[in-house]
């Protein structure tokens, strides 16, 4: 018995696994050998990324903001960026290499991605030296500021969704119910000019 139940499929070749398995974990597992500097990253960023994300990661139009927003997570309008929100640098490297630039994914070399990741650290003030070089060797020494602020799913502890007692069925509120907000006043539904909802 070789562990196969149906004998379907075939063994994956090492080259095939290497081609598709490019994911990286926070402990650095999966990082390719390579390196890149902040200044190299700045050039690459302006050529490949700034058209959407802005020269300084500030975002053009509604495209994602990549830098800034530190200490805004308790604000009314938090700005969640790599520097202010993301827990792990591995995600930056992995995601840029896997899915960016938008519309031309997998076009960057491993060294390009190290350089861009270094530049994103610089834009977020995690490193301050323009000559800083990020590599597979020093990668896991870098910690992002918000790592400690992620917690496990504890929705159960909220209590409101657990029927410890049967929900109220009659006279559940003391007085008449008041309307406190109208969607129509905001009027942002498609086709809602002339208050006629699409569909």
């Amino acid at each position: 018995h070789d562990g196969k139940v149906f004998g379907l499929g075939r063994k994956a070749e090492a080259e095939e696994i290497a081609a598709w398995d490019i994911d990286i974990r926070p402990d650095g597992t999966g990082l390719p050998v390579g390196r890149g500097t902040v200044s190299d990253g700045e050039v690459l960023f302006s050529e490949n990324c700034a058209v959407c994300h802005g020269d300084f990661g500030e975002g053009v139009g509604r495209w994602p903001v990549l830098a800034g927003g530190q200490d805004t997570l308790t604000d009314e309008r938090p700005e969640k960026t790599i520097g202010s929100y993301w827990p792990y640098l591995s995600t930056v490297y992995d995601y840029v290499r896997r899915a960016m630039p938008f519309g031309n994914a997998r076009s960057l070399s491993d060294d390009d991605v190290y350089a861009l990741t270094a530049y994103l650290l610089y834009l977020n003030d995690v490193v301050t030296d323009e000559e800083f070089e990020l590599s597979n060797e020093n990668f896991t020494e870098i910690r992002l500021p918000n790592e400690e602020n992620f917690i496990a799913d504890d929705r159960d502890a909220e209590g409101h969704d657990m029927a410890t007692s049967a929900p109220c069925m009659e006279s559940c509120k003391p007085g008449p119910v008041e309307i406190t907000m109208h969607a129509r006043i905001l009027d942002v539904t498609p086709g809602s000019v002339d208050d006629d909802e699409a569909g």
């Binding site: 562990g3 149906f6 379907l8 499929g9 075939r10 063994k11 994956a12 095939e16 696994i17 598709w20 398995d21 994911d23 974990r25 926070p26 139009g61 495209w63 994602p64 308790t74 009314e76 938090p78 969640k80 929100y85 827990p87 995600t91 995601y95 896997r98 899915a99 938008f102 519309g103 994914a105 602020n149 992620f150 917690i151 799913d153 504890d154 929705r155 909220e158 409101h160 969704d161 029927a163 929900p167 109220c168 069925m169 009659e170 006279s171 559940c172 509120k173 008449p176 119910v177 309307i179 406190t180 109208h182 969607a183 905001l186 942002v188 539904t189 498609p190 006629d196 699409a198 569909g199």
Partner: protein, 425 residues
């Protein structure tokens, strides 16, 4: 099609247009009386469809809905996202009934557009902490024993625009990032066993073949429980926008994890903390902490009619209140409906199949006296979890969680039958 057979445009027939033309319930009733006096010409005169031949059987090799239903379509909200290729559209829940979503109306959520994958060129790889890393073709996958399972798929961000209050006017927009179809596929457990999962394995990570190469970490326990690798929906091949030729099915859990165009499953001993489980699909709380791995979709419901896109046009008297309820924890055991904003509740009637982690249809048949209503529905699942109010959710989480808004929806039905999305005290 001859001119005499050309139907009125759906827009011309819309109930909203009738309302705007001032045809109140009273005048409609008057017209009906007049028609009866002379005889309704729709009855007394021979209609075209009663005289002329319709299309033959060769005319519609793959049928589409009646042109009178042309308004029943997915719709998007342009201002929500920066690009249509990384965006969402919405299922027209207000026009549907029962619990099955037609394939062409299932909402779409892509991160890099609809991948155009040739099934003959598609491969599924299983690698990582397995005895033998494997590659399957679609033909291989269709030789494994199959399962048919009906499940809802709800985007984690469904109702996410409503955290700060009433924003979008229609259940298509507030609740339409959900659909429910029957999937045919292979148990993920069988595929993992084929590769031989090592004892050190604790997590799996599906990956998509599209340009976003979507990845999520899923605990092995869930992967071995009820996940499917599906190639059919509602009996036919997956639609391209739903992952053709292969997608992951993760029952009861947030839609983002149902990776489309599935090409690889890695087995590991730690989660990967990918972009879609760090930057996205984490839920920021008022204290600046963020929950991660909030996988389950909690009990939820919405009244689909009456609703802002489905106003009451028939006047007083019998009124069917129709809606959907679902829970990622299992079956829905009960739905309560209020017509006075949650002061008093009546248990509605569930109709149709009641299946675990699937949409359920409920009805409450009332006699409407023409007075304004504040309609709400409150779902309860088989484990006794019930749907909270939006204010209860906000008190616990603040307003910036984006995801997992399962708060009770209120519709304000006005005396003229129009309906609005509101928040209540």
């Amino acid at each position: 099609m001859s001119e005499t057979k050309t139907p009125l445009s759906p827009a011309a027939l819309s109930r909203r247009s009738l309302l705007k033309a001032g045809l109140s319930a009273g005048t409609l009733a008057g017209t009906a009386v007049a028609a009866r006096a002379a005889g309704d010409p729709l009855i007394t005169e021979v209609q075209d469809w009663n005289r002329y031949l319709g299309d033959g059987v060769q005319a519609r090799p793959y049928g589409t809905p009646s042109p009178y239903e042309a308004h029943v379509v997915r719709r998007d909200v342009e201002w929500l996202t920066a690009a249509t290729e990384s965006s969402v559209n919405f299922t027209p829940l207000h026009e549907l009934d029962g619990i099955i979503t037609p394939n062409g109306l299932c909402f779409e959520r892509h991160h890099a557009g609809i991948a155009d994958v040739d099934p003959a060129a598609h491969r599924l790889m299983i690698n990582g902490l397995v005895d033998t890393p494997l590659v399957f073709t679609m033909e291989d996958l269709k030789r494994f024993p199959r399962e048919n399972r009906l499940y809802f798929l709800e985007c984690a961000a469904n109702s996410g625009m409503e955290w700060r209050g009433s924003q979008l006017n229609g259940c298509q927009y507030t609740h339409g990032m959900v659909h429910c179809v029957m999937y045919t596929g292979v148990s993920l457990k069988l595929l993992l066993e084929e590769a031989g999962v090592k004892t050190s394995a604790k997590w799996v990570m599906p990956e998509g073949a599209d340009a976003s190469a979507m990845t999520r970490s899923i605990p092995l326990e869930k992967a071995l429980d009820d996940c499917l690798v599906a190639f059919k929906m509602n009996g036919e091949a997956l639609r391209p926008e739903q992952g053709y030729p292969l997608r992951l099915v993760v029952p009861g859990w947030e839609g983002n994890m149902w990776v489309k165009w599935l090409r690889r499953i890695e087995v590991g001993d730690e989660p990967w903390h990918q972009r879609e489980e760090t930057s996205k699909y984490t839920d920021l709380l008022a204290n600046g902490k963020a929950r991660r791995f909030t996988w389950v979709m909690d009990p939820k419901s919405v009244i689909t009619s009456p609703s802002p896109q489905a106003p009451i046009t028939h006047g007083k008297g019998p009124l069917v209140i129709s809606g959907l309820a679902w829970s990622g924890n299992g079956r829905i055991s009960r739905v309560d409906v209020s017509i006075d904003g949650g002061r008093n509740w009546t248990t509605a009637r569930l109709d149709g199949p009641s299946l675990s982690k699937a949409l359920h249809r409920f009805y409450l048949d009332i006699a409407w006296d023409g007075s304004p209503l504040l309609l709400q529905s409150r779902a309860m699942d088989e484990h006794g979890f019930y749907q909270p109010t939006k204010n209860e959710l906000r008190a616990a989480r603040g307003e910036n969680s984006i995801y997992h808004n399962n708060g009770i929806q209120t519709w304000h039905v006005k005396a003229d039958g129009t309906v609005e999305n509101v928040e209540v005290s």
